[in-house]
């Protein structure tokens, strides 16, 4: 704990330099008296050069979601390579209010960048905007925030939203011969990413006229809730053939249920987005044939590199580029849907043939 405190202190000069560099010209806040009185320093980093000693706050949806823990670790690896450090901070509940104090702590600590997975598309915008006005760069990953231009931010897209939605439908269609009733077991009803994938799932389903989406239920990324809505689905739709669960908590809960109810498992095919570590058992015993995911560790790693690049002077604009360390790729920011983003890459399909190759 003391290590973190000391680290923050050493960071202040670096952050002050950024502030003095004019980023904060319009700041009329009363809460930043400390930052304004910094010695004039040159904040000019040559493009491509990453400053050392950067502090990046990673604010996941909550601190327990295994998927985001991996992403945070990826971010930590990235900042370690770049000579900076990551502070992971969030609540235990998937609510915007639980993330609010972490943003405030980042502001008070004069962090260089915030990497956030938003629990709500817009409730965090006022706080993030305050942070941006103080010169903190904002990067979103996993679940985007929709703040328009206040603040401007970069979204690290795990995979093209459309590709995820359509590929999950394709994956299920292949396994149930493109016919029968299907349902979706999602996370929270307000979860940004799940909702946009579901939108594309519905579009893709038009290509499979014999597949009928009968219901979408929400397990709130909580095993107990997921289980009870799953049981509701199974008893409510006796002819259900397939379930897509675009969330790691949902799919692992459903797989566990099917594993212990072989009669139900015989008629229902499960797929979606899952963690290889949690799904390995069910893939091996045949409960689940295949599922997909991108590598969350790579996602956090890329977000870390993006945050460091922005904090080192890479402009937040279309066409700006940054390097990505061991991903060995130069990413270019693209404008779409009114915001800047980069796409990590296509999702990986996991089945019996490759499940043992992935250790996350």
């Amino acid at each position: 704990m003391t290590g973190i405190g000391a680290g923050r202190r050493t960071l202040v000069p670096a952050a002050s330099a950024v502030l003095a560099g004019g980023v904060l010209a319009a700041c009329s806040s009363t809460s930043n008296d400390g930052g304004g009185s910094s010695p004039a320093g040159s904040a000019g980093a040559s493009s491509g050069g990453i400053k050392s000693g950067l502090t990046v706050y990673f604010i996941p949806k909550d601190t327990q979601n295994p998927y985001e823990v991996l992403a945070d670790e990826g971010g930590q690896k990235a900042l370690k390579e770049l000579g900076g450090k990551v502070v992971v901070s969030s609540g235990t509940q998937d609510t915007a209010a639980a993330q609010q104090p972490s943003i405030q702590a980042a502001i008070q600590a004069h962090a260089d960048a915030i990497v956030i997975a938003g629990n709500d598309p817009s409730a965090l915008c006022p706080s993030l905007n305050t942070a941006a006005r103080q010169g903190i760069k904002i990067v979103a990953f996993d679940s985007d925030v929709q703040c328009g231009d206040s603040p401007n931010h970069l979204f690290i897209n795990q995979a093209d939203t459309k590709t995820i939605g359509t590929s999950e439908v394709d994956l299920l269609a292949k396994q149930i011969n493109s016919e029968g009733q299907i349902a979706i077991l999602s996370a929270a009803a307000s979860a940004t990413n799940q909702n946009s994938w579901i939108k594309y799932m519905k579009e893709q389903l038009k290509k499979y006229p014999k597949m009928k989406l009968v219901d979408t239920v929400y397990g709130n990324d909580d095993p107990a809730t997921s289980l009870s809505v799953l049981q509701g689905l199974i008893s409510g739709y006796p002819n259900l053939k397939g379930i897509i669960s675009p969330t790691t908590v949902g799919i692992s809960t459903a797989a566990q249920y099917l594993d212990t109810h072989s009669d139900v498992a015989k008629r229902i095919t499960l797929t979606g987005l899952g963690l290889p570590s949690e799904m390995r058992k069910y893939i091996k015993d045949g409960t689940v044939e295949s599922f997909e995911l991108w590598n969350p560790s790579d996602l956090g790693y890329l977000a870390g590199y993006a945050a460091a690049a922005l904090a080192s002077g890479t402009p937040l604009q279309e066409g700006a580029t940054f390097e990505s360390g061991s991903l060995k790729k130069t990413y270019t920011m693209q404008q779409g849907d009114g915001e800047l983003s980069v796409v990590l890459g296509p999702p990986t399909v996991f089945d019996k043939s490759n499940i043992d190759d992935f250790n996350f």
């Binding site: 704990m1 973190i4 405190g5 923050r8 202190r9 009363t30 809460s31 930043n32 008296d33 400390g34 909550d62 601190t63 327990q64 502070v87 992971v88 901070s89 969030s90 609540g91 235990t92 509940q93 609510t95 915007a96 209010a97 639980a98 609010q100 104090p101 972490s102 405030q104 702590a105 502001i107 008070q108 600590a109 709500d120 598309p121 817009s122 409730a123 965090l124 915008c125 006022p126 706080s127 905007n129 305050t130 929270a188 009803a189 307000s190 979860a191 909702n195």
Partner: protein, 357 residues
């Protein structure tokens, strides 16, 4: 402490038998709890200032206000409800329902003030539902409000579904109103929600400690039967307290909607436990009849400062929950433990007396 004195006359009943021998006036044991809270608060402030380099930043006060203000406001009517020996676990769901109501109406083009009015009305109706079930039908409030906790949240989900308001194509909420979430009161570091809490706390404190209304609440909490015979309309009082709780929770829902400049159905999920924790840690007895608004205010200050400091020190969220849980346990164990000790002592003394005869 004069306010506690005011509650003394009505507290004259069998429950206070400890006082019969003139040893333990009620107000003194209460004063000790509040004194204890002051010590804890000072301790937390010193500890936080030493450990966290950013805690002494003026903005900390503002952030504590923004983060805890709306929760603290709900703790005031909760104090009244708990004083009468009941509990309202539906407050956070009512906050969500009221916020969702504002969002739903705004989404449909309503004027913001009209939307606020409807949201407050929803609070009154929801509170009245709790009140009728508890006061009229005599059902246990813990069961009733667990039911409405689920129901209000369900209604909020029906209203907004997966939408976050303002959604695409909606107008933003008026900026001068949503600024309460990012700007402090000019010339200070006080947030608007914290100012509202302070004003309301003064009003609630006066009502509880110097009016007949407050004395009636204490009497109901101590001895509902005796209060009834003394001419206090116990059921009517309980009914209106639940209505008040619904109304204030709805108001908190409006506040949080403005502070976050947006609302989705799950806003404030689980907050009822924080509200109850603040009230109990403030020294309000879960069995009713005992407690002060001052204690609740101190409790808010402690919990708010502690949470902020823990986040600043990057203590993980699960450990923060443990701290909250420990606070709650302390607030239940210490007063009851003290009472048990007193009983044990009196018992021993009574036993010791006959022996010489």
């Amino acid at each position: 402490m004069t306010s506690e004195l005011a509650t003394r006359p009505s507290g004259d009943s069998a429950v206070l038998s400890g006082r019969a021998d003139g040893r333990q006036p009620l107000w003194r044991s209460l004063a000790r709890w509040e004194t204890g809270l002051v010590v804890v608060l000072v301790g937390v402030l010193i500890w936080a200032s030493v450990k966290s380099p950013t805690f002494t930043d003026p903005s900390t006060l503002f952030y504590i206000g923004v983060n805890t203000g709306y929760t603290a406001i709900m703790a005031l009517p909760m104090t009244f409800v708990v004083m009468t020996g009941e509990i309202d676990l539906s407050v956070a769901s009512m906050l969500g329902l009221a916020g969702s109501t504002v969002g739903y109406l705004w989404h449909h083009g309503w004027n913001i003030w009209a939307a606020f009015a409807v949201a407050l009305a929803v609070g009154v109706v929801g509170g009245a539902l709790n009140g009728v079930l508890v006061a009229r039908f005599g059902l246990p409030s813990i069961a009733v409000t667990i039911g409405t906790l689920t129901m209000f949240r369900g209604l909020a989900e029906v209203l907004l579904g997966s939408l976050t308001i303002p959604s695409l194509g909606d107008q933003q909420f008026p900026e001068w109103l949503t600024n309460i979430g990012v700007n402090s009161i000019p010339g200070s570091q006080l947030s608007w929600s914290m100012l509202l809490f302070v004003v309301l706390a003064v009003i609630f404190g006066v009502v509880l400690h110097v009016t007949p209304l407050g004395r009636a609440m204490v009497a109901i909490g101590l001895q509902p039967e005796a209060a009834k015979f003394a001419g206090i309309r116990v059921n009517r009082m309980k009914f209106w307290l639940f209505v008040l709780s619904g109304l204030i929770s709805a108001f908190a829902g409006i506040l949080v909607t403005l502070q976050q400049a947006s609302v989705s159905y799950n806003v404030g999920t689980g907050l009822e436990l924080n509200v109850v924790a603040i009230v109990l840690f403030g020294g309000v007895s879960i069995f009713g009849g005992r407690g002060t608004i001052l204690g609740v205010v101190l409790s808010v200050a402690i919990v708010g400062s502690l949470q902020m400091a823990l986040v600043q020190l990057n203590v993980s969220a699960d450990k923060q929950n443990i701290v909250t849980g420990v606070l709650l346990l302390i607030s239940v164990i210490v007063p009851n433990g003290a009472a048990a000790l007193r009983r044990a002592r009196d018992y021993l003394r009574r036993r010791a007396r006959p022996r010489p005869l």
